[in-house]
Symmetry: C3
Subunit: 205 residues, 3 copies
């Protein structure tokens, strides 16, 4: 290992980018999971593996914070960013697991739309992470995530409205709500990530 005078803090950008790219993959798998009724076991296992990978990546970031002399931004913000990215993954994996646990069959179309919004959130988040290095063009990202989260909110309410329309009985509503709530929470978690990025950018400005 070569002697280095400067701390290798640039690795944080790569680590955040990697975590966000796991979310792109996970939302893509979740989209297949929602639409392809028969492949749920296989796809659910892939989500569990991704969740595990993301968990290890999060802890690697935590260890890197602890062992770095200098960090590119406040240690607490690095912590928050890493945990919030991890929270998104937890919600995605939990949503899929709840579909399996409650033995739900075909899901309402609105759930597919919820997942499509999560895919978009993951893409803009992954694209923004490398820009933390230059701190440029980050506002576009958090504005877009806020917009997507607003969309997700409206969609969630449209779904609730359908759940209570009389089409479903109480037990089905309960099961579908478990999943819908978890997807809604994933959208909120993406917004938390964007809020941390905004906080970091405000401090740097």
């Amino acid at each position: 290992m070569a002697f280095r005078l400067t701390p290798k803090d640039s690795s944080f950008y790569d680590m955040f980018t990697a975590s966000a790219e796991h979310l792109v993959e996970a939302t893509d798998v979740l989209s297949e999971f929602v639409h392809e009724h028969t492949r749920r076991e296989e796809l659910g296992n892939r989500l569990r593996d991704l969740e595990h990978t993301c968990d290890q990546a999060t802890h690697a970031i935590f260890r890197q914070v602890n062992s770095s002399f200098v960090t590119p931004f406040d240690r607490e913000d690095i912590y928050n960013l890493a945990s919030d990215l991890d929270d998104v993954m937890d919600c995605i994996e939990a949503a899929a697991d709840l579909v399996v646990l409650t033995k739900l069959g075909t899901l309402p179309a609105e759930m597919g739309q919820q997942v499509a919004l999560l895919q978009r959130c993951a893409q803009v988040t992954a694209e923004s992470m490398p820009r933390l290095r230059s701190m440029k063009d980050l506002a576009d990202y958090w504005i877009e995530v806020n917009r997507l989260e607003n969309e997700a909110d409206k969609l969630y309410r449209r779904l609730l409205s359908r759940l209570y329309s009389g089409e479903f009985d109480a037990l089905e509503i309960l099961k579908l709500k478990e999943v819908a709530d978890q997807l809604e929470e994933a959208a909120d978690a993406f917004e938390h990530v964007a809020n941390v990025v905004e906080t970091i950018a405000v401090k740097e400005s």
Copy 2:
């Protein structure tokens, strides 16, 4: 535009006061909404407009933080205070929307009592915001909000106890719980606002 040497940071106090006054109006409208079964569409629209106004006010505060050289207290606390005030409004609007979405008719008396506590929270919050300037007499405010939130907790449990008493079927319980949970969350959000004010005051002391 006149030349100014000092940053116009005093505008923050006015902005927080305005946000909190929107909450006074919103809780008053919500009270009518809960009691006047037949005017729900009109009152629901007014709450949606208020939520939109509050949203714009919150983002104006965020922009002001970003463009100010000096802020009256930590940027992060300004952020938290603005978002927490916004959270209260979101809960209030969501509660009304859920009543409409689930097509609930007459609501249990306990919900009117929940809203009455929210009205009181909004009043003391709006009265306290201008006192952030002098940092005087703020403890009375957060103690009162903590007391009100305790009351709200007890009331929420009394409501749950009634929901599960056998008077309602599972589907009705589900619908009423959606609304009750949102009102309970509004009370919690008022407490978060008070906690940020307490944090600010502790730092200044």
Copy 3:
């Protein structure tokens, strides 16, 4: 009262230790509560008293922060640690109260297992609090709490899977979910406590 030159900030360690020890007692009482169907009224009252004691302890910490010149770590971290310990107690007391409110009888074995994990969380938390003084051997504690919280997550899902297995009707599921969610929230709250300790340790390192 003797004259002292140095602020008595060491009292914080004792206060946190006392709060955590209340949680050990509360989880022990909750374990009896879950298993001993007939003593629920008496045990519920003991939990209410403990919640009240913990509340007073939390406010004593807040007052101590406000009146200390020097604090052993950041005022905000002291606040967060005190509130997060208090949140655990609130969840424990709420879980028991919901069992009483919804008039549940014998509880599923998985709930007893949830409570056993909470007892273990409380023990390791109480053991770690005095170590805040030396900042030594704290990593073992937060790693263990994270492991226990993972266990609690898996157990919670196993319980959900059973709730939706067809064994229970919608109304029973609703009641049992109220309690299960509260116990799951208690495990999350223990993890929040561990996260604050980790944050404090990172700053000190």
